[in-house]
Symmetry: C2
Subunit: 493 residues, 2 copies
């Protein structure tokens, strides 16, 4: 059927689930048709996905006022504005946990799921496209399903999906993955064909990833990480093929993965969420043996390259449900080296990944906590400052904690790497002050820490000054300017 009639199944107040993970494998017709309809036929839905959608879908739905509740992740600026205004409720979830939350029924039944597919098999099961995300749990739980068969996706994508369903409590099964390349599930998503109420054909590529080329700062950060991992190998703590790598999205993570291509490490593996351009660069550099993720999210040129040489990559990739890629069980068993981006970090190693100035959400926590909490090594990267150095990304106290000091092993900025393992909080502060903070903020931060220590404590702070930097920023446009203004000048003293 056409997208319009398919969208008409969706009614005001429904819980709607859609495939899609970091812009890949998402609904490309029905949700857009819904947004068009909503402009003249007001309705509001709960929208649940794998992660972010492409095609401007979140923007269009938000503009049409068609979403009352959104989870577990989104990255669109228009929708973000409504969220921060409190007009659209947003549940920012750990991406590995949504499937389990849905199984409890706390969001109510899923009325309709929209799942992009490469094909539907004779048994009704659905072959996904460039992402798996939460589609398997959507297919299991939804009352009705609309399938979007995307003819733009090469049909020989079939074979890279590994759909493992762990079952429900109290009979949840072992997820038996003991190496990144081990297939444990089936190639398509089980689906009761009676639930399929519509099939829509599309012919549209995924929205491409925005790849920012490495720059001086990100290359510097990458080199610290590569040097550190090299020293871990020399210390006998890691082999030359390291442990499975996970890297979040962002230019720093991208630069780090690109750095591996020119490194001495060999036979690397990836156990991550998103397979990005850098994954395929590592395959081409003959550095990577296998990559497991929940989506392929790449630039337009990389997309062409992959699918024109599909035979070269196909046997080295598995796409899995996001509750498997982000599973605490599997991550803690494999011993992943996780590299994620911090918005900011405080002197004790607590990380804010999601909230600007502690209040306004940027995107969300994504899978960063799934990995940081369970990895062998949890590395966070950030530039030491931003916005022309008016903002230090190393602060006295982060006003929003996504990752506590317990889940942050290594912090890296373009100024250096702080190895926080085996350190007590005051020692962590010294390591971060010494290695990570921008020189223009070092004295201010040292001054704060010194004053805090006079107050005592395992984790010293001066609570009434802990957020002064944000107050400075709000009032003067810079974290530091106001501080200088506060200094009594010789003339006045």
């Amino acid at each position: 059927m056409e997208a319009g009639p398919a969208a008409s199944f969706i009614q005001d107040g429904m819980v709607v689930a859609s495939s899609g993970f970091t812009k890949s494998g998402d609904s490309k017709a029905v949700l857009l048709a819904l947004s068009e309809r909503a402009e003249f036929d007001p309705l509001q839905i709960t929208l649940i996905t794998g992660a972010s959608l492409g095609q401007q879908t979140d923007a269009r739905l938000a503009t049409a006022g068609a979403v009352s509740l959104r989870l577990p992740f989104q990255a669109d600026p228009v929708m973000r504005t409504l969220i921060n205004e409190g007009q659209l409720m947003y549940i920012d979830e750990n991406l590995g946990e949504t499937a389990a939350h849905l199984k409890t029924g706390i969001f109510g039944d899923i009325d309709i799921a929209i799942i992009e597919a490469s094909s539907i098999k004779a048994d009704g099961s659905i072959v996904p496209t460039t992402s798996v995300g939460n589609s398997a749990v959507f297919a299991a739980l939804a009352k009705q399903i609309i399938v979007e068969i995307n003819l733009a996706v090469p049909s020989d994508i079939e074979g890279i999906h590994d759909i493992f369903l762990s079952g429900n409590f109290p009979d949840k099964a072992v997820t038996p993955i003991t190496s990144t390349g081990q297939r444990v599930g089936r190639g398509s998503i089980p689906c009761n064909p009676d639930k399929i109420i519509g099939i829509v054909f599309t012919d549209k590529k995924d929205s491409p990833a925005d790849i920012l080329a490495p720059d001086k700062t990100t290359v510097q950060i990458a080199s610290y990480i590569l040097d550190f991992l090299g020293s871990e190998v020399r210390a006998g703590r890691l082999s030359n093929s390291l442990l499975p790598l996970q890297a979040g999205i962002g230019k720093v993570a991208n630069a780090v993965l690109q750095g591996f291509a020119e490194s001495d490490f060999e036979h690397l593996t990836i156990y991550s969420e998103v397979l990005q351009d850098s994954t395929f660069d590592l395959f081409d550099a003959d550095k990577l043996d296998f990559a497991s993720g929940s989506s392929i999210t790449v630039s337009e040129t990389c997309y062409q390259r992959i699918f024109q040489n599909w035979g070269k990559y196909k046997d080295k990739i598995l796409l899995r449900p996001q509750d498997i890629t982000n599973s605490a069980e599997v991550i803690s068993r494999l011993g992943v080296i996780a590299i994620n981006t911090a918005l900011e970090c405080d002197i004790y190693g607590n990380v804010n990944s999601s909230h600007i100035s502690g209040t306004h959400i940027m995107n969300g926590i994504g899978g960063s906590a799934d990995f940081a909490q369970n990895s062998y090594l949890s590395i966070f990267v950030t530039e030491s400052t931003c916005k022309g150095k008016t903002i230090s990304r190393i602060v006295p106290m982060v006003p929003h904690v996504d990752h506590s000091e317990h889940d942050v092993d290594i912090l890296v900025t373009e100024h250096g790497l702080a190895d926080l393992r085996g350190l007590a909080p005051r020692q962590k502060a010294e390591a971060i002050l010494k290695n990570c903070v921008h020189p223009e903020y070092r004295d201010m931060l040292q001054e704060y820490f010194t004053e805090a220590c006079t107050r005592g404590g395992q984790t010293p702070h001066v609570l009434e000054k802990a957020f002064n930097w944000y107050q400075n920023l709000r009032l003067t446009g810079s974290m530091k300017r106001h501080h200088k203004f506060q200094e009594p000048s010789p003339d006045l003293s």
Copy 2:
């Protein structure tokens, strides 16, 4: 040998590991002998345990200045003072993670491990006593081992230990536990007998647990939880035997477990860290089928009762290494219902479990994050106020985050229960304001939240006022008094 000569193996600067988990199965002779020696022969060690020790050992070692670094948990007031003064470095760790950290070698080699035992088997393996804790990893890694054979422990304790070693990366094994009562390991701790440099005999019971009887407040909190779980059963989300229970230490958790004895729930199981008096009360009430933990920590009367009727309990208990009881893999597979105590919680559901006023550590995070992050239901309990209501335990923003809002499903005080599942942050604030906060603080908290919302954001805050309550407390002795003082009176306006 005698304890004194055994302690003389320990030299200044050594890394010393000791058995002991919440005061059970700890060294009762060698560490005390070391503390006596340290009074006239100054030395400092790194001391690594399972969790807290009994016998005033931490107090005596701290008084003697014999510890430079302590991990992963301690609960002694004397040592706490040194920690908060910055004189003794303390690494407060997730209790399930220490074994993995030790395997990386980041704390250096363990020079000597002291392990309390019931006996040593012919193959050199060690039968533990009332706790397992980290003893298995200590025995594997330590260069030398001193065994304390405690004759006060009934020898037929043998048989309740389940020692599973998951191995090292990249070959870490599946931990195949799929039900609380499933034995997966061996009955004693593997040990190379060549490493045993001394055997000391003791005849001393564990320090007893301090059990506080339920009072009006804790019984009220317990009843909210039991009612809530009952409603989950009626909603079809849980069976009448629920899912395995975990309860932290403390009078509220104790009251909750006691409440189960008079409930309609049946065939309960426990998958927890510490088996407390309430565990055995539930066995006696015929409500509990099985209990898995890492220690038995009970009152003196309960201890007598257990070991005088050992046959009644022995087949229903397993004691496991703390990296198994607190394993993300197993907790997330079993779907544990975790009940832990918050020091304080903020309006968005972020929990502080460890730091008074954000700076001074009380005990530590313990196993609370291991369970909160991976459980099916993460419940946090706290009284709404303390110290004659001068302190509200529900605050605008916690100044130390051990558990982010993502890991807190249910918050309960004596005023009510807030079910935070499926809510966005602003909705969580409304639920907590409505159900949990003490009436004397409700207006203040509502006022903060209302002002915060005028600033906008996914998680609204007024950063420059977020910690005013602590400032009030520091300056006036009450979180509220100063607030009243700030209110302009009609006479002055």
